[in-house]
Structure formats: C-alpha cells, structure tokens
C-alpha cells in the first residue's frame, strides 16, 4: 500500500513538473502555472507546493495528511511563446478534474499536445507582416509606408526565424531581426522617397516587441510574484535594447540622423 502510493506520487510528481515546465517555457504567468499544477494534484488527492524560479520549477507533493511523498525539480528548455500549449494544458487539467483521467492518460495527452504543429511558416510571415502594416496604419501611416512596413516585417521576421533555427542567443536573434527590418525600411528613405521617417522605422520593428514578457511581468508583480515579475521585466528590457541596437546600427550604416 505504502509503496504503491509512493510510486504513484513519483509518477504524478514527474508529470506535474513536465506540465509546469511546459507552461513556463510557453509564456504562462506564475499564478497560472501554480494554479494548474495544484489543480492536477488535487484531482489525484495530493497537495502540491510549487516554487517557480525564472528557469526552473521545484515541487513537493504531499498526501492528504500533509506527509511529503515527492520532491523534485526540473529546469526549462529554451523559452518562447506558444499559446496552443497553454490552452491545451488548461483544457487537459479540467478534463482530468471532471472525467478522472488516469496519470498515464494525462501523460499521453500532454505528449500529444506538445507535438501539435505551429502555423505554417508562410502563414506566420504573411500575417505578422500584415499586423505590422496595421500598426503603421494606426499610427497614421500612408499606403506607401504600409507597404514598406510589410516588406520590412517580412524580411525581419524571416531573419529572426533563421537565427533562432541556428540557435543564436535569443537577444542576438532579435538584434538580427531588428537590423534587417530597419535596413529594409531605411533603404527606401535613403533612396529619397518622401516618407515619414518615424512611421517607417518605428513600426517596422514592432513585431519584435516582447509583448508577452512585458504583460506577464506586470501580471506577476500584481500577483505578488515580485521576483519572477522583475526577471521577466528585465528580460523584456533586454529585448527592447536588442531592438534599439539593431535600429541604431541601421541608422548608422545609412548615416541617417
């Protein structure tokens, strides 16, 4: 009896750490990670105590009498943003609570979730470029500036994706993206086209803005996860600096003031 309970706790603990780490590396806020892990644990009558560090999660599982049965820690792989994973895990957790899935079933479902495909690359490129043009429009851009932003975003995002594939440092990936996008936009200004300098430059790098870390940073701060909030905020700031350096280098190359 005692040993089956222990082995169950061990299995569940490993699964919960997988869940938490997948959430952390897909851009979930700390309270969401904690709530989801506790929800899973409660479905199997355990109590989960979770500590979330910037790049790892530790977990203690207690039984109903608060006796610790499992201790573990797992560090995250590279962090990105993948909302499909977050929404899939949220659904899975409710499914577990309501329909009483076994640990093995949850494990299989989680594996399936993590292997779900992204959108096709061309779709991502086109729609993000469209979003870039949309921003340019909302800042008051003219049609020609919209087209330039579209092209700049397309090239910049393509470069960033290639850099990510080649496993460059994430900040350097953003730097490359920003540099290429602003080189593209700057070429038209250098060619003597009569366009608004600010619209073309500022909106062509907007796709790199670290929106998820920024918003998660404040969400964490409001929820009292001050340390995680600060880490995420500084991370977002580093991305913003990388964008600025790319932009500045392009302006230096073109000798624009």
């Amino acid at each position: 009896m005692e040993t089956t309970k222990k082995s169950e706790a061990k299995e569940l603990g490993a699964l919960l750490l997988d869940v938490g780490v997948s959430l952390l590396s897909s851009g979930a806020s700390c309270s969401r990670i904690r709530i989801t892990m506790r929800r899973f644990a409660a479905a199997y009558d355990y109590q989960a105590h979770v500590s979330i560090a910037p790049k790892s999660i530790s977990l203690t599982l207690n039984d109903e009498a608060d006796t610790p049965l499992f201790n573990g820690m797992l560090s995250t792989p590279a962090q990105g943003v993948n909302f499909k994973t977050i929404s899939g895990i949220s659904r899975l957790s409710w499914d577990t609570v309501e329909n009483g899935l076994s640990i093995q079933e949850v494990k299989d479902e989680l594996q399936k979730l993590l292997n779900l495909p992204h959108y096709p690359r061309l779709v991502i490129l086109l729609f993000v470029s469209l979003a870039g043009s949309a921003f340019c429009f909302s800042f008051g851009g003219k049609p020609i500036e919209l087209l330039i932003t579209f092209g700049a975003t397309f090239c910049g995002l393509f470069t960033r994706q290639e850099a990510v594939k080649k496993k460059f440092n994430p900040y350097i990936c953003v730097f490359f993206g920003s540099l290429v996008a602003s080189l593209f936009a700057g070429a038209f200004i250098k060619a003597g086209l009569n366009i608004n300098f600010e619209h073309a430059f500022a909106t062509s790098v907007l796709f790199l803005i670290p929106g998820v870390p920024l918003i998660n940073s404040f969400t964490d701060l409001i929820d009292g996860n001050i340390l995680n909030g600060l880490v995420r905020g500084i991370n977002a700031l580093m991305f913003a600096m990388a964008i600025a350096f790319g932009l500045l280098l392009a302006m230096l190359i073109y000798n624009l003031k």
């Binding site: 851009g27 909302f83 470029s129 600010e198 790098v205 907007l206 404040f218 600025a244």
Partner: protein, 161 residues
C-alpha cells in the same frame, strides 16, 4: 470626430491582433474572437483619443474592455482568458513612444548642447508614457479577474440566456 478614420483604425487593430495571435500560436478557434477583441479595444482607444482623453487612460479603457471580453470568450472558446487578452491588447502597445524614448536616450549620450534640456524632457515624457501605457494594459487585462476574485475564469458564472 472622424468616425471613419477611427473605424478603419479599429478594423486594422483587429488584424494586428490576429497577426500576433498567429505569431504566439493561438488555437485557430480563437482567431475570429481575437479580431473582435483587437477591434473593440482599438475602437475605444482611438475614440477616446479623438475626444482628447490622455493616451494612458484611453489605453487603459481599451485594455479593460478586452479584459472583460476575455471572460465570456474563455467560456465560449474554451481557452484561458490571457490567450485571448494578450494578443488583443498588443496593437495598443506604444511602439512609437518606445522608439522615441530609445532614440532620445541615445541622443542624451552625446555632448551637452543648447537643446539638451529639450531632448531630456522629451525623452522622459515619452519614457513615462511608454511605461504607464504598458502598465495600464497589463492592469486592464487582469482587472476583471481581480474584480471577480476568482483564480480561474471557469468559476465565473455567466448569466446569458
């Protein structure tokens, strides 16, 4: 008030939200809702701006509307509210202010000339605007959850018949 301009800006804000939704790999079933959310947030923000309300408060109102919307959407589309709310408020991120701040900071590293104080006050102004807009976006998105005092949108019962 230039209604056509506001409406077309709102329309494009919706596309901005979809673009970022795709970049963040949201489930396809939320894309249409994202367009609506982005457009409504953008509509409120730009309408208020036309009425000469400050940009920080206008962004806060837009983000709060998105946050409110995110709860019914979470029910109907079976996704956590933030999946909908984050891409929908991204079109309201103050890119131009952030850009001016960065540029201003770099200019401040140069020699002190006659226009140094002007650059400094411009930079501080833009920087503070950027910071407060981002704070109001994050706050607006999470306001509904904090007002309802629930940890999960699933516990918030909707009265829709």
């Amino acid at each position: 008030m230039d209604l056509i301009l506001v409406l077309s800006k709102a329309f494009w804000c919706g596309w901005g939200a979809i673009g970022f939704g795709i970049l963040f790999n949201v489930p396809p079933r939320t894309l249409f809702a994202l367009w609506i959310g982005g457009a409504i947030g953008g509509f409120l923000k730009f309408t208020l701006l036309q009425l000469t309300v400050g940009v920080v408060f206008a962004s806060f109102v837009g983000a709060t509307a998105v946050g409110m919307l995110s709860i019914p959407i979470a029910h109907f589309r079976h996704v956590p509210p933030m999946i909908f709310a984050i891409p929908a408020v991204i079109p309201m991120i103050p890119g131009v202010f952030a850009y001016r701040t960065m540029l201003g900071l770099i200019k401040l590293t140069g020699a002190i000339g006659p226009d140094y104080t002007t650059i400094m006050s411009d930079t501080v102004n833009n920087g503070v605007k950027t910071l407060f807009i981002i704070m109001s976006l994050a706050l607006g998105v999470s306001v509904p959850m904090h007002v309802m005092r629930q940890e999960s949108a699933k516990n918030i019962r909707l009265k829709i018949k």
